[in-house]
């Protein structure tokens, strides 16, 4: 849990990140060669990015954004509309993230510089994502067109262009998407981890620990919080773009309450005190969901996931990953203590 104290990563961390990165690039050719497995795992990477965007804000800056799905959906829709209009995907990819970050900056500015208390910030982010869902759902008429793209209301847009390799026009294959999603997840994780040893990141952690003290020391906490909020929005937007690309489909459900709540569940299950926790949490919950989905539990699924959440909260207060790491460490000390 060293990340919490913003310590410098050890050499072994760099090795692990490097090895995982190489493994992710080789996996679709040697390890995970089945296309349906590649698809199932790719989406976990994408959703883990969404979870990271939320847990970075919550665990490190103390901002509980309930509505990271607003940026997730916005990213997906912005990419779709841009790519369909421009018949091009590279610029659209970056522009969609940029536009969403701009929106996050405006929304964040009013909430943070208006000195809204934490709880109101949570509520407003949730309301914003629900407003987006409602608004997009009501765009089924012919008049709701951006450029040449019909928004299609609650039916969503089923023609999201696949990403093309820049300047070649070749579409990314399934293994290409797998690699892209995995590499981006690892890079975002490593980027956030390294951000925490920069002065910006250290002040952010200070804000989470004690905002008043940070202010008394002469830091304008609002600037830092807004910066974090925009970064979180950008990561959620990246997840949204990748989700659209993975699915070739965007729909208002991307903004919905179910998705927003899922993000919280992933983060709580994995634990927010580390950056790896939410990734693990997303993987476990998504895996369970996929497995149970094929076991014809049908409508019982939310109930089972709810039980999992309650169990994790009761048994592992800080989330599964810190709980297991702590437990293994405890057992290890016991074993060594008994041996001597």
């Amino acid at each position: 849990m060293g990340a919490n104290a913003a310590s410098r990563p050890r050499a072994s961390w760099w090795v692990v990140v490097g090895v995982v990165l190489i493994a992710a690039i080789l996996a679709p050719y040697y390890l995970i060669t089945d296309i349906s497995d590649q698809i199932d795992i790719s989406i976990i990477f994408v959703l883990a990015l969404l979870a990271l965007s939320m847990s970075f804000l919550w665990g490190y800056a103390g901002i509980l954004s309930f509505g990271q799905t607003a940026f997730f959906g916005l990213g997906g829709y912005a990419y779709t509309v841009l790519a369909l209009n421009l018949h091009e995907t590279t610029f659209s990819f970056f522009a969609a993230i940029g536009v969403t970050m701009l929106f996050a900056a405006v929304l964040g500015y009013f909430m943070i510089y208006g000195r809204l208390s934490d709880i109101y910030l949570s509520v407003i982010t949730l309301v914003v994502t629900l407003i987006f869902e409602k608004a997009i759902k009501s765009t089924s008429g012919d008049q709701y067109v951006i450029g040449s793209v019909r928004l299609n209301g609650q039916n969503g847009i089923p023609t999201v262009p696949s990403l093309q390799i820049p300047w070649s026009g070749t579409e990314l294959s399934f293994d290409g998407v797998f690699i892209l999603d995995a590499v981006l997840l690892i890079l975002v994780y490593a980027g956030l981890r390294l951000l925490l040893i920069t002065p910006f990141g250290r002040v952010l952690v200070g804000i989470r620990e004690n905002t008043r003290r940070i202010e008394l020391l002469g830091y304008d906490s609002r600037r830092y919080k807004l910066g974090a909020f925009v970064i979180g929005g950008g990561i959620a937007a990246l997840a949204g773009v990748l989700f659209g690309v993975w699915n070739n489909f965007v729909a208002p459900e991307m903004f919905g309450l179910k998705r927003a709540a899922e993000v919280i569940v992933w983060v709580i299950v994995g634990g927010r005190s580390t950056l790896v926790g939410p990734i693990v949490g997303t993987a476990i919950v998504q895996y369970l969901q996929n497995k149970l989905g094929t076991q014809s539990v049908g409508e019982w699924l939310p109930l089972i996931l709810g039980l999992v959440l309650i169990l994790v909260v009761l048994l592992f207060r800080g989330g599964l990953l810190p709980g297991i790491v702590g437990g293994v460490g405890w057992a290890w000390r016991r074993v060594r203590g008994d041996a001597t």
């Binding site: 104290a5 913003a6 002065p199 250290r202 002040v203 004690n210 202010e215 008394l216 020391l217 002469g218």
Partner: protein, 239 residues
């Protein structure tokens, strides 16, 4: 008032509902002074400090620091102008190591704060606990960490709200020594209850009572002042 005043308040008031926690305070502090602020609980000392540092907005009146009006200035800007405060309840980063606490303070006006951090750690004798989380430290140690953070900002005016609370006798003596030492270069106001402690550091004492200044004088005169004895010192002064 005097031209050399670094801090001045005029008709300062703060109301909480119907309660006038500060009910018209005209206060002036000369540059270089070491002033003690005493008064019974609820006299308004901490409220007064919080208004000077932008943690509370005054209901009425004016605060001037080095000639500039800071009545409505935000807390972080006041911090940058050069007022540092140790609040009554230790206001530190509990989840972070001692060294990181000091680093965050030193870094604010310092792109390369390492030397300053080392200096503060050494000056306050925090070297042995540099890596420990502040939250697990004893109350007295946490106070020292906070004082270290205040010093690391190199402020022009330091406000200390009960710096010796929760400290052992030895720690209290060290704190008094430190305060006298810091005062050679920095103006200070100290809120305290411990009369022995005040005797060690004070030249001039201001007594707050029910949100107003009751009397302002040298420590010896304050100790024999009948009004002060009535509202506050009674037993201790007799001892």
């Amino acid at each position: 008032m005097s031209e050399a005043a670094i801090l001045e308040t005029r008709g300062l008031e703060r109301h909480f509902g119907g309660v006038r926690a500060i009910a018209g305070v005209d206060f002036a502090l000369a540059a270089g002074e070491l002033r003690c602020l005493i008064g019974p609980n609820g006299a308004g000392k901490s409220t007064f400090f919080k208004m000077i540092t932008g943690q509370l907005r005054p209901s009425a009146g004016q605060i001037l620091f080095a000639g500039a009006d800071i009545t409505r200035t935000a807390a972080h800007e006041i911090g940058r102008l050069g007022i540092g405060i140790k609040n009554q309840v230790p206001d530190v980063f509990d989840g972070l190591p001692v060294r990181e606490n000091v680093w965050l303070a030193a870094r604010r006006a310092n792109a390369k704060p390492q030397a300053l951090v080392d200096e503060i750690m050494q000056r306050l004798d925090l070297g042995d606990i540099a890596g420990r989380l502040v939250g697990v430290l004893a109350h007295g140690q946490r106070q020292w960490v906070e004082i270290g953070m205040v010093l690391a900002r190199k402020p022009r005016l330091i406000l200390l709200d009960e710096p010796s609370a929760g400290m052992s006798l030895e720690e209290t003596n060290r704190t008094a020594t430190l305060i006298r030492e810091v005062n050679r270069t920095t103006t200070m106001i100290v809120v305290e209850h411990d009369m022995q402690f005040i005797r060690q550091i004070a030249t001039k004492v201001t007594v707050f009572h029910q949100g107003r200044i009751l009397v302002e004088d040298s420590f010896e005169r304050i100790m024999t002042d009948a009004r002060v004895r009535d509202v506050y010192l009674g037993r201790q002064a007799a001892a």
